[in-house]
């Protein structure tokens, strides 16, 4: 019943937004005289008015020449309006093309110098063992800042690609168990440094998913990173199981939680909860937005339950490949 009401409300709000023609035109940022939606409605109205007007005119004045002239004038007007619609559509297509080009150029031009400095630092750090500790520490700071900048560029590029509907995916069959295990291992130091007890319960089966491996790693890493960052100590529990034809991944933390009135915004881009700034002032509010889009592009879903002061449970699902799984022997891990 509640679900039906939600669907009705969703449909009504969709209808309201569709009927708000001016709002829709503003959304795509074109002048009203170039807005295809408004011009289309205008064209329809002109056609109706022209038919009605011609009918009455012919009833009063019976000259066929006058009627033909009116029809020609209306046809001319419609042609001009059609041209405007065409012009506006071409304009939008061109803007879209330029945006995609910009993303590609930015991707290359921003990432190249970042990669160069990352690799140069790697070389320096390899031979920096004899340097004083302060100098080594400074190099580490440069390395961390470079990594953060690299991540920021990656996040912004993903957002731009999502918005341009050009999110790139190099899909292949990936072991879910191996990806989770590798991510957990990679975070052991961060977990320990954050004074967190991490309980990881791998499934007894391994599951294969058809997913971009980089994106799968990103999703698990970011969800785990959020749990660590916003736990402020405490406990994190990770598990995954088969749920019908999907894999269900779950991560439970005992962190600050998300205030109830803010929960609806959590997957919006740049959104950050009001109670997390002190725990992690440097976040971007982009990860969950990107994760949701990446999962949805692969038939997956994401959701959460959260109580302020008690913690959150974030979960996501990914469809399994032909429901296939293989048994693995692995015990409960405690980090």
């Amino acid at each position: 019943m509640e679900q039906t009401n939600e669907k009705k409300l969703g449909f009504l709000s969709y209808l309201r937004s569709e009927l708000d023609v001016v709002g829709q035109c503003r959304k795509i940022r074109v002048p009203l005289w170039q807005c295809p939606r408004l011009l289309f409605i205008g064209m329809g109205m002109v056609i109706i008015l022209a038919i009605v007007f011609t009918y009455f005119f012919v009833v009063i004045r019976t000259e066929p020449e006058i009627a033909a002239l009116i029809v020609m004038m209306v046809a001319g007007f419609l042609m001009v309006q059609s041209y405007l619609i065409l012009f506006a559509t071409e304009n939008l297509a061109e803007t879209n093309r330029l945006k995609n080009e910009f993303i590609n150029i930015t991707s290359h031009q921003l990432r190249s110098p970042l990669t160069a400095s990352k690799w140069a630092l790697e070389l320096v750090l390899e031979s920096a063992k004899d340097l004083p500790p302060e100098a080594q520490e400074n190099f580490r700071i440069i390395e961390d800042s470079n990594a953060r900048m690299g991540k920021l560029v990656y996040l912004l590029l993903q957002v731009a690609r999502i918005e341009a509907n050009t999110l790139k995916q190099h899909k292949r069959d990936v072991s879910f168990a191996e990806t989770v295990q590798a991510t957990v291992d990679q975070n052991k130091f961060f977990v320990k440094a954050s004074n967190i007890e991490l309980e990881f319960i791998p499934s007894k089966e391994d599951f294969e998913v058809n997913f971009d491996p980089e994106q799968l790693r990103f999703i698990i890493q970011e969800i785990l990173d959020n749990a660590i960052r916003y736990s402020g100590g405490g406990k994190i529990k990770i598990s995954y199981v088969r749920a019908n034809s999907n894999i269900l991944f779950e991560i439970k933390d005992s962190g600050v939680g998300i205030p109830k009135d803010e929960q609806k915004n959590i997957f919006q881009k740049f959104y950050r909860g009001s109670n997390i700034y002190t725990l992690s002032p440097g976040g971007t509010g982009l990860s969950l937005f990107i994760i949701k889009k990446m999962l949805e592009a692969n038939g997956g879903k994401i959701g959460f339950k959260s109580t302020t002061g008690e913690g959150s449970i974030f979960w996501f699902t990914i469809p399994l490949i032909n429901n296939s799984s293989k048994k693995i022997i692995q015990n409960k891990n405690q980090v």
């Binding site: 990432r111 190249s112 970042l114 990669t115 160069a116 690799w119 790697e122 070389l123």
Partner: protein, 123 residues
């Protein structure tokens, strides 16, 4: 000493990779555009080629195509090292005969060296 040709127009990247490969005992030849890359590949016959795709004068795709169509270079393994990452670019490079396709930003320098060693068969 195994010889590697690195075709890359960005000097900073060229310098870092060359140094890392030198440290591992490789001889590294550098080319800064597509034309000189293709020419050096034919005259020097390296054991492996690291090839960027966005290059001055001639694109990496053109160079790769030519190398794979030329008798004396067609068997040299080519690792594409680029920041282009669209599936279409990856497919095109692999179809043209690239051994491996690596997106620079996704790898550490040590990973690149490992990939080179694997491709050249020295690991």
């Amino acid at each position: 000493m195994k010889k590697i040709l690195f075709v890359e127009d960005e000097q900073a990247l060229q310098r870092t990779i060359s140094e890392a490969l030198h440290r591992e005992g490789f001889e590294v030849l550098n080319a800064i555009d597509g034309d000189s890359g293709a020419r050096l590949a034919k005259t020097e016959k390296p054991d492996m080629i690291l090839l960027d795709l966005i290059l001055p004068r001639r694109s990496g795709f053109d160079v790769l195509k030519e190398l794979k169509e030329t008798e004396e270079t067609k068997d040299i393994p080519v690792i594409v090292l680029t920041n282009l990452e669209s599936p279409a670019d990856v497919d095109r490079a692999i179809e043209l005969g690239a051994t491996t396709y690596l997106v620079k930003a996704n790898y550490d320098l040590s990973d690149i060296v490992k990939k080179v060693k694997m491709a050249i068969g020295t690991k």
